[in-house]
């Protein structure tokens, strides 16, 4: 038996590639030569833009307003004041459908340098954005009526300071003061399955929080879109202090009764390594570790899960698989509506082997671009074999295989594991994944645009 899941891909406008290379004879220079390209592509004025996402609580957010870009000596100055109207409920004029994003930032130095920024926002933010890239998640919702994220509202302000080690590597510190609220699922169009009920957006914690985030981003990949070699390391530590006015719904096991005032520490590490084995073969790996580090229980917005096309695709997204739910960390008895992520820690390992096809039946696709409205897409058929293993767990008094002490790590035998195969055509890939740790799980077929990770 085979089940279909859907997905996704590249809402973002094309971003000029900026490479980082050893022994380079010439770096990417064009973004610095404003007279010919960057200046004209980043002109000040009014803009109308999508929010680069699509989901079941806001549909398509449409941003409109003035933007300003200028340079003063070595400093680049950017500012924008954008109003947001959301397409949910046919652009109905109400609180949940209106928002804003206003930013002002200065960046000194191109490549190595530093930056300072201020922002004010009233936006919908994803829970667990690390599962899937924004475009994948957005297109899965738009085409397939599958929203692989949950959402909450962030309304507040943020100050940011960053030190840029290169064009794509940085160390930054954010401090924000914001209110969190839990939006409802709304009437949102989808190409297929339109009219069917969406998965309920879970009820999350509501309240006011002061949050500090220290974030490091190291990117040595030779190409950010199609990397063949290099590291991508994203690490962050978040310390939050806040008062919860309305608690989100959890399984009883997932949260001990707590006072409304919380202070927590949370870490997340997403580490990826890309290796070329030969001109046409690659082996790439990804390791994600995240979870509670200190203080009170994590708010529901900051918890974890695995399962679904972005993590362990052999298992359905947010589906309870008993008897011990190591995907969402529910107790299996009381599962809140929408089955939110409730784990306090998570571990995920992914490995993929890629083999570019040559002189094959599919090679005819490379003869000319596939054309959509006059725009050609080139096709690079590549066979992909992959394995994944991951699970989440709770932190506390050790109990069975769901809750572990803060210094323990679950046995590998308790992980969700799968294997899979796919054909990546460059613009879209078709994959099939089969759960290994649960042999009764049927295979899942899914689509992704660009790479798995």
């Amino acid at each position: 038996m085979i089940r279909w899941t859907y997905v996704s891909a590249a809402l973002l406008l094309a971003v000029p590639a900026i490479g980082q290379v050893p022994d380079t004879s010439a770096n990417d220079t064009l973004p610095e030569h404003y007279g010919w390209w960057a200046r004209t592509s980043r002109s000040s004025g009014l803009i109308l833009s999508s929010g680069k996402t699509y989901n079941r609580v806001e549909g398509l957010p449409v941003l409109f307003g003035p933007v300003f870009h200028d340079s003063v000596g070595a400093a680049q100055v950017n500012a924008s004041v954008l109003g947001i109207i959301r397409s949910a409920n046919t652009f109905h004029w109400d609180n949940q459908n209106l928002g804003h994003r206003a930013t002002a930032d200065v960046r000194v130095g191109r490549g190595r340098g530093y930056g300072l920024g201020l922002s004010s926002y009233d936006v919908m933010a994803p829970i667990e954005g690390w599962h899937l890239p924004d475009p994948d998640a957005g297109l899965a919702a738009f085409f397939g009526h599958r929203d692989f994220r949950d959402w909450y509202n962030r309304h507040g302000g943020m100050a940011t300071a960053s030190f840029n080690m290169s064009a794509r590597s940085s160390l930054s510190l954010d401090f924000s003061d914001e209110r969190w609220a839990s939006p409802d699922t709304r009437r949102v169009f989808s190409v297929f399955g339109n009219g069917k009920a969406w998965r309920t957006n879970p009820t999350f914690d509501a309240g006011r929080f002061h949050i500090g985030v220290l974030r490091a981003n190291v990117d040595t990949r030779n190409d950010p879109d199609n990397p063949s070699t290099g590291w991508l390391i994203q690490a962050e530590y978040e310390h939050g202090i806040g008062d919860i006015t309305d608690f989100g719904l959890t399984s009883p096991i997932a949260r001990t009764p707590t006072t409304p005032h919380v202070s927590y520490g949370r870490g997340l590490l997403d580490l990826r390594r890309y290796n070329r084995l030969s001109p046409t073969t690659w082996i790439n790996g990804r390791l994600v570790l995240g979870g509670w580090l200190n203080g009170d229980d994590l708010p529901l917005q900051r918890r974890f899960s695995v399962g679904g096309v972005g993590t362990v695709p052999g298992f359905d997204f947010r589906k309870y698989e008993g008897p011990v739910d190591v995907s969402q960390c529910s107790d299996g008895v009381i599962i809140p509506a929408g089955s939110p992520a409730q784990c306090e820690r998570v571990a995920l390992a992914q490995l993929e082997y890629r083999q570019e096809l040559h002189s094959s039946l599919l090679d005819f696709l490379n003869a000319r671009p596939i054309r959509l409205r006059g725009i050609g897409f080139t096709v690079q058929p590549t066979i992909v074999a992959f394995v994944d293993a991951g699970r989440g767990w709770l932190v506390g008094q050790p109990s069975g295989t769901l809750q572990y002490s803060s210094h323990s790590f679950p046995r590998f035998g308790t992980f969700r594991t799968d294997v899979g195969l796919g054909l990546d055509l460059g613009i879209i890939g078709v994959y099939v994944a089969k759960a290994v740790s649960s042999s009764k799980e049927p295979a899942n077929v899914f689509l992704r645009v660009h790479r798995l990770f």
Partner: protein
């Protein structure tokens, strides 16, 4: 299901064949001279020509990598990046072509005809990249991204209204076609169709 949507709107048309090559140095002297890069047909399609004629510059970002074959993993030993920008000067009615290396622009000329400008863009170019050591097996890999200046959604909406929807509303075009084209525009943008990616490789050599 999404794939079927994609196929439903895809309409392959005859196109000039695109060619991108990394040429071996004369006499296959890999250890003595760098290779050259040559291409054709990259800017030949109607959509690209239309954008160029309306003053939107085209950018070709090249990256030539030199890899050394290893026992387990291949190593990236060197890379050279450069850009070629082609822009139509509406007032002067000339196509300007510039190559940018290390932030230094180098004019490749001004041309009255688009074909001449394309020849300047795509002609052979010997890349300034460090040479491999004698006896080290390796290969060159060329990555090319071709894009026109990113239009904002507002520009795109204006273009759509001007070019497709307005004639439809005034009865000169089928409204269904206009809306269909709008949906296709959306899908193209969702798929990142403003940037085309090409790759070319040499065979493995030992200088």
């Amino acid at each position: 299901m999404f794939a079927s949507t994609l196929l439903a709107v895809a309409s392959p048309v005859a196109a000039q064949k695109t060619r991108l090559e990394v040429l071996a140095p004369p006499g296959n002297a890999w250890g003595d001279e760098p290779p050259s890069v040559v291409s054709s047909g990259l800017l030949a399609d109607a959509a690209m020509r239309d954008l160029l004629a309306n003053g939107f510059p085209a950018r070709l970002h090249y990256r030539l990598e030199r890899w050394q074959s290893g026992r387990w993993f291949d190593d990236l030993k060197a890379a050279a990046e450069w850009d070629v920008v082609m822009k139509y000067d509406v007032l002067g009615k000339k196509y300007q072509v510039v190559r940018l290396i290390n932030n230094k622009p180098q004019s490749l000329g001004e041309y009255g005809e688009v074909a001449d400008a394309e020849n300047a863009v795509e002609g052979p170019y010997r890349v300034d990249i460090s040479l491999p050591k004698k006896g080290a097996r390796g290969y060159y890999n060329l990555l090319l991204d071709v894009e026109t200046l990113s239009l904002s959604d507002l520009d795109e909406v204006n273009r759509w209204l001007r070019g497709e929807l307005k004639p439809a509303v005034s009865g000169k075009k089928n409204p269904g076609t206009a809306i269909g084209r709008g949906v296709r525009t959306l899908i193209v943008r969702l798929l990142g169709g403003e940037k085309r990616h090409y790759e070319a490789r040499t065979g493995t050599f030992r200088p």
